[in-house]
């Protein structure tokens, strides 16, 4: 679907032998992967495979115990989440993490926080340059609101929105920071068919029109196989397969991971 697929786009994100333990549980062990500029990269796998842990490490909430994570040539393995956000990675959460008491508009404006010039006293300096900057940010946020068709909900507290809309607002907030890498943790989970189709369209639009590199976790196989340029399959903390959707689909290890066992084993 995109001409960058599989071709030699530069590497956006590189995981190199990444491992993470929680107490005695090895959540991720020795996973390596490359996400290329401009592609949609999906991570799939059964529950507990370590997918979200990978995302959490990429966004800095956990730090890998072994291996390294590289974003645009910078090692971000031990970098704090707030710093990573300012480097150009933004994300959504599996369980929606909007600011529930704040309006949709405020949520999106906060998405631009990393792009805003800061300074303790800048808060009180509303006039002059600060105001001009504010207006610019507001314009970009309005574009996103327009794009995601949230116009009527601007002033609604995010917590009061229906589930599907909250997911959409969260996508909007992630986009507001103009990320160069967008991490989506199950963007379509719990949605009905119509909401899913909407979300798929938004994700594709973001990828194609804005050229944003996207790494996502998703359980809906139909969606993953349709939109991804590359798919990484994980099971029990390990990478068990990697390739284009077609390559992955035919991989016996993938089938085994999903169905629990293969026929010949059952016989044996």
């Amino acid at each position: 679907m995109t001409d960058t697929a599989g071709s030699g786009g530069s590497v956006k994100l590189k995981l190199d032998g990444v491992a993470k333990n929680f107490g005695g549980v090895r959540a991720v062990s020795g996973v390596s992967a490359e996400v290329k500029e401009g592609e949609i990269f999906s991570i799939i796998g059964p529950n507990g495979a370590g997918k979200t842990t990978i995302l959490n490490m990429t966004s800095g909430f956990y730090h890998p115990d072994e291996g390294s994570i590289n974003f645009e040539g910078t090692d971000i393995s031990q970098t704090l989440p707030s710093k990573i956000a300012s480097l150009g990675i933004s994300r959504t959460f599996q369980n929606i993490a909007l600011f529930r008491g704040l309006t949709v508009l405020e949520n999106l404006m906060l998405g631009r926080h990393v792009l805003m010039k800061t300074g303790v006293l800048a808060a009180f300096a509303y006039w002059g340059p600060a105001q001009r900057e504010e207006v610019e940010h507001r314009e970009r946020v309005e574009e996103i609101i327009d794009f995601l068709k949230l116009t009527d909900l601007r002033k609604t507290p995010a917590g009061a929105l229906a589930y599907g809309l909250q997911k959409r607002v969260e996508l909007g907030r992630a986009l507001a920071s103009e990320p160069r890498l967008l991490l989506l943790d199950e963007p379509m989970a719990g949605m009905n068919q119509e909401e899913k189709e909407d979300m798929v369209r938004y994700v594709l639009d973001v990828n194609q029109e804005w050229g944003t590199t996207i790494a996502l976790i998703e359980h809906d196989m139909g969606v993953v196989m349709d939109i991804s340029d590359h798919v990484m399959v994980m099971d029990m903390g390990e990478r068990i397969s990697f390739g284009t959707p077609d390559e992955v689909r035919g991989d016996p290890r993938v089938i085994e991971a999903y169905l629990g066992t293969t026929d010949h084993k059952e016989v044996a």
Binding site: E106, M109, L110, P157, R173, S177
Partner: protein, 296 residues
């Protein structure tokens, strides 16, 4: 004459109420941005007033210089407090933070008089003592000045939280620490900012109340007045603080004027708490507090 008495009680109640609001807003600042309940806010007010009054009476500082010392002290004190005591508690159960602030309150009550002595000190910020007489109305000048200061700063804070970027970020931090981090918000820095602001507000409260009632450890009891005010108005609302403060102020004044003479006094002191309990029964998040949004 009866309506004049009522009028006078009400006006003075409103003025006192605005001054309560000034104390309560420090509490709300902390709650709004860190979700923590600060039981030491009254002690902050007391300690700020003790430092200013102590510098002025014990060391003969001019009042402006004493206030400057107080301001610097409160800022440094709150930065240290946040860094040393409260930051390690981020992510712990909220009850741990509450207990820490209660402990802090007791320490401050004990430590407050150590440096400048325990006696009641006057605090004169240049407001005259003679009552303002306006027709049949008697008002204490410091109450008027205090209410004015209070209105001004509450307006500033209200604007800050609703409109300014930093204020919105602060509300975001209160809403979710983790999500704020993902937005690139430096959560620790906002915590520090909240405590600094609370310290500055405590100084203002200390100046106003210290001038009105004199400076000693009794001032810490003002912190207890904060609870009916914020419960009434809503823990996280600046407007709520004003309305809560005004209601409490007027109720106290009316109780003192009408009920105390009948029963021999004392009702003034507990009326606010009766109101508080009634509010908790019928509207636990206060008049302006945000109800917890729950989708079922």
């Amino acid at each position: 004459m009866e309506w004049q008495f009522l009028f006078e009680l009400t006006i003075n109640g409103l003025l006192t109420g605005m001054m309560y609001a000034l104390i309560a807003v420090g509490f709300v600042l902390i709650y709004k941005s860190t979700d923590a309940i600060n039981f030491a806010q009254g002690e902050f007010v007391m300690i700020a007033a003790i430092v200013v009054a102590g510098m002025a009476t014990n060391y003969g500082f001019p009042i402006i210089a004493a206030i400057a010392v107080g301001l610097v002290f409160m800022i440094i004190f709150n930065i240290v407090l946040e860094r040393v005591v409260l930051r390690p508690m981020i992510g712990r159960p909220i009850v741990a933070i509450i207990m820490a602030t209660i402990g802090l309150a007791l320490i401050l009550q004990g430590a407050g008089p150590l440096v400048f002595g325990a006696g009641t000190k006057p605090l004169n910020i240049g407001v005259p003592d003679e009552p303002l007489i306006w027709g049949p109305l008697f008002m204490t000048p410091i109450d008027v000045v205090g209410a004015g200061i209070s209105i001004m700063f509450l307006a500033i804070f209200g604007w800050f939280f609703m409109k300014s970027r930093k204020g919105v970020a602060m509300r975001a931090v209160a809403d979710s620490h983790m999500t704020s981090m993902a937005m690139g918000i430096n959560v620790e820095r906002y915590f520090a900012l909240a405590w600094i602001l609370a310290g500055v507000v405590a100084l203002l409260g200390g100046l106003v109340w210290g001038s009105a009632i004199g400076v000693d450890t009794q001032m810490a009891a003002l912190g207890l007045k904060v609870f009916p005010v914020v419960i009434l108005g809503g823990l996280d609302s600046i407007i709520g603080v004003v309305v809560g403060g005004l209601i409490i102020g007027v109720c106290e004044a009316l109780a003192a004027g009408y009920i105390d003479p009948l029963v021999g006094g004392g009702t003034k002191d507990f009326t606010p708490y009766v109101l508080m309990i009634l509010v908790l029964m019928f509207r636990p998040y206060g008049i302006f507090g945000k109800p917890i949004i729950e989708r079922i």
